[in-house]
């Protein structure tokens, strides 16, 4: 086998502070482990539950109902571009749920897999990456609800819907950056375990999930876009509501820049502490 010969020719040097130049190659080599861990999380997720995968339908659906009633009926906030409030809320809820579950699961994942980390070598980044798959599958289930909602309200998407996958990837990346930083921090300081649920709870209200970002006064708009979720949720609504809710471009650019910085920062701090994970866990 040529692959094993190539590997056997490979010489590994282990020393203090030695940066592993082959890290990204290693990450690629361990892709099977990524799939297996992801498969494990998916297989185990709804074991010993009564309604199983129906939870993936129920949770976002009920949240949507509550938000529509609270924000749309009681607070009487306006929707975007005349779209039904429920559809607008759900278009915001989709990326938010994806973001928050990736953030929560990935941040806790390294400590949660402490048994593996202290007994076997593999690029540790495999762990937070694998947790994304579970969230992604729940997301796909929610898409079915979205389709049903759009049918019900007779909302017809435009060509923009084809760009939805791009925004899905952006959502994952937006969650991954902070999640990796938090995962590394939780290994060192368990205090951060208590920070994550709080951030998610607050994030739901500071992001335009239950309401439209157009409600934010013009002069604050750019500042508001410092939250990368603002740009992403805008993007989702643009895709789903068929371009009637235009993306505020300078704000979107800012959101993406913040996303990029967070991703870079998260990867960097994860890579830096990763080598001592087994000592700390």
């Amino acid at each position: 086998m040529s692959t094993s010969q190539a590997e056997s020719a490979r010489r590994l040097v282990l020393e203090a502070g030695g940066t592993d130049r082959q890290y990204w190659l290693d990450l690629w080599r361990y892709r099977e482990l990524f799939f297996i861990l992801a498969w494990r999380d998916v297989a185990v997720r709804y074991k010993q539950t009564v309604i199983g995968i129906a939870w993936a339908f129920l949770r976002p659906f009920l949240t949507m109902v509550v938000f529509t009633v609270v924000f749309g009926r009681i607070a009487k906030l306006p929707s975007e571009a005349g779209a039904p409030y429920a559809v607008m809320v759900f278009a915001g809820l989709l990326p938010w749920t994806l973001f928050s579950s990736v953030l929560g699961d990935a941040a806790a994942s390294v400590v949660g897999n402490g048994q593996l980390v202290s007994k076997v070598y593999f690029p540790r980044m495999v762990i937070p990456l694998a947790t994304m798959v579970v969230a992604l599958i729940d997301f796909l289930v929610s898409l079915v609800i979205l389709a049903a909602l759009m049918l019900w309200y007779a909302v017809i998407p435009g060509w923009q819907i084809l760009l939805l996958p791009v925004f899905v990837v952006l959502t994952l990346l937006a969650a991954l950056g902070p999640a990796m930083w938090l995962a590394a921090m939780i290994v060192k300081f368990r205090d951060f375990r208590f920070v994550v649920p709080f951030v998610i709870q607050v994030g739901l209200y500071v992001s335009p999930v239950g309401f439209s970002a157009t409600l934010v006064p013009e002069e604050w708009k750019l500042l508001y876009n410092l939250n990368p979720l603002v740009g992403i949720i805008d993007g989702f609504r643009w895709c789903i509501l068929g371009g009637d809710s235009p993306i505020y471009l300078p704000g979107f650019a800012l959101s993406m820049a913040v996303l990029g910085v967070l991703l870079w920062w998260g990867t960097r701090s994860f890579r830096r502490t990763e080598r001592s994970f087994a000592d700390l866990i």
């Binding site: 056997s8 490979r10 590994l12 040097v13 282990l14 020393e15 030695g18 007994k119 070598y121 593999f122």
Partner: protein
Amino acid sequence: MPDTVIRAEGLGKRYLIGHRVHREGIFGEVVMRGARNVWRKGIDLLRGQSVIEGDVIEEFWALRDVNFTIRQGEVIGVIGHNGAGKTTLLKILSRIVEPTEGRVEITGRVASLLEVGTGFHPELTGRENIFLNGAILGMSQREVRARMDEIIDFSGIEKFLDTPVKRYSVGMYARLAFAVAAHLETEVLFVDEVLAVGDAEFQARCLNRMSKVANAGRTVLFVSHNMAAVSALTRRALVFRGGALSFDGPIQDAVAHYAESLSRMSVERDWGRGTNATLLEASILNADGHPSDRYEPGTPLRLRVVIETTGMPGMSLDVVLRDEHNLPIAYYSSSIFSAISLPSVGGRYVCTLALAPYFLASGQYCFDLMTNYNKYHGDHRVDNAVRFTVELCSPGGIPFDFSQSLGQGTQAMRLSAPLLFEPVPESAGGEALRG
């Protein structure tokens, strides 16, 4: 050298460990200490250092200045006491932890087995766990699938393969876990104490498998406490003591070196201190009154102990004798059995206990020593303080060595009166049985 597979140079690993100095205290002190600890941890957090629990932080070298070279196809045993650095070495070699100093070069595809069943998920079935565990150990799915039948066969639990492993017994779990591990085929393999699972038959199968692996020309590093297994599987061994490589050579010499260091360890170890009476040193005395590590069965067992006491009245000196499995087999307490306390004038004393003769089976023994206050309240305790060996036990000069390894106990019982066989009358015996 082209066939060098592993080369370690000046390898060292340092840990910072925290101690809790004060166990109890008045409320105010506890609060103050808590506040100090929070302050210290807060500063650690700001500096980005990790949090260490405890009042006092100490540096600890789990491994220091270790050098060795291993060539292609060698099978090496790694032996040493608990905490000698064996597992740390394996963890460094298998890239789980990073060395603090020095470097290692490894050529070839590496796999390590620090534990069997790593990553097993209780909710998944046996078959699913084979895939999961295989992937975690570094096998490709193709490899696992190709060896699936062998693995199932080796585990011997075919019937339960589609049951979640949380329903397995401990033995079944271990069998399945080892079956996966045993089919790991890489050029370099590191194995930690993993044979200590399953029943005797399964262990024998594992050893068999290990020796097959060892003979297949692969490089194996094998950590074990089981000297018989190490001697059978390897030709060369590394002996570790206190984080340093203390011997590197042929397996027979290594085992001898290890046994010797085991007996020396008691002297070199820090015994700590007691509050009122501290044990300083101890040894067995031979017939001439010189310190020794041998005991001749059937002679008085003389134990010399040096004690420092504050003069506290009512202190007792107690000893527990343990066999080679570290099981307690005998006990003596000066205050309980002889109503004797340590001297009530402070100072250092040499105390010689002459215990009545025993016919101890040949093998290893050790004494735990302790000073107690008021019969039961422990003051200073040193476990495995004195080790000694009985080389031959042949009560009455019989041509037979009664050894601990026979599994028939640690003492040869002796008759106190001649052994008699008196005939029982036929009828009377029958009556008695029926009654």
